[in-house]
Subunit: 204 residues, 2 copies
């Protein structure tokens, strides 16, 4: 039985079907998980037949790709809006990054190609979007590192928050303490490495 849309529309033409499909897709993604993100399920929510989506997206994976773009933009916006804290910018940006991952777990995994070949195929476009977060975090380190050290340090920070966020949403981190405390301590530990700079560790 097809569950009708919330409000059956009056006009034959929907008017803004593309965005309606995207928001419905996002609802499905967060509520029921990525395996339920089907074209028929999405269009059923909008109150529209499945093939009608093909006038706005070339395939189902393209909808997922649209969601991924949306997520990448939001993540970059979250980081850009993080309160500038010159003393502990690493902690600030790291916490903001991980907060986004925890708030949008399914979307974040979608951004990195989970289950949707198109996301990793057209990666040329989406890689650039994902990189924006890296750029922002890297820029936050400019004040205390040399230009030569910056790329590796930024990559270090990105890999850390990427892995930590994914381990968190996979419930792979189980501790009695508050998880926020764990995050803060891991980021602080990383900070002690960045403070010294990425030079070789001499056997001093």
């Amino acid at each position: 039985m097809a569950r009708p849309a919330k409000t059956p529309r009056k006009t034959y033409h929907h008017g803004d079907l593309r965005n309606a499909l995207l928001t419905a897709a996002r609802e499905v993604l967060e509520e029921r998980g990525p395996s339920f993100l089907g074209l028929r399920e999405i269009s059923r929510r909008v109150g529209v037949s499945a093939p009608s989506a093909y006038h706005h997206f070339p395939s189902r994976d393209a909808i997922a790709l649209g969601l991924a773009e949306q997520g990448a933009a939001e993540l970059a916006a979250c980081l850009a809006a993080a309160p500038p804290n010159p003393g502990g910018s690493l902690l600030t940006y790291g916490e903001a990054y991980i907060a986004f991952v925890r708030a949008n777990p399914a979307l974040y995994r979608l951004m990195f190609g989970e289950g949707f070949p198109a996301v990793s195929e057209h990666s040329a476009a989406i890689r650039a979007l994902r990189t924006r977060s890296y750029e922002i975090m890297k820029a936050s380190l400019e004040s205390r590192l040399t230009a030569a050290e910056l790329p590796i340090a930024g990559l270090f920070l990105w890999a850390l928050v990427h892995g930590l966020g994914l381990l968190l949403i996979d419930r792979q981190i189980v501790r009695d303490d508050d998880l926020n405390d764990v995050i803060r301590r891991v980021l602080t530990l990383a900070g002690t490495g960045l403070m010294r700079g990425p030079g070789r560790h001499d056997g001093k």
Copy 2:
């Protein structure tokens, strides 16, 4: 033994269909990617009808879960077999971890639930398997950290190699340098953090 996939088999009973399905599934996974990991494609390779798999696995996702278990065991074995290098154990284990990820990209993503609900559903079992790698890496830090610092430091290392490995197989790290050099420098940078210990006076 695994009967050759292409040659039609002599006996009506296969003999070792369960393992044959697993190895065929692994081939499909690495050759064509996770989206091609279908029950019919797997059984076609083995030379068997699709429903015959249901005598050895309760569902298609169960096959994927079997692959994930296999991968987790192999990763732990890789780490356990890493050459013990007391001076730079962090670099040794980190490189071994990332080498496994790069050698089995699709399998590694499968281990962390990509596209297969069952992997994240029965996570109680698979979480323990994934944790074994963390335990091994954590143990490698015992010599230079206190017991209190160990969990956070191990988590820090795990998150770092997890994120770094995933960024690598997502081709998200593009640099002119040799990638192995990038990995080594990131891990060295992490090492300078661990040398100091998490937040307090110098360890050692």
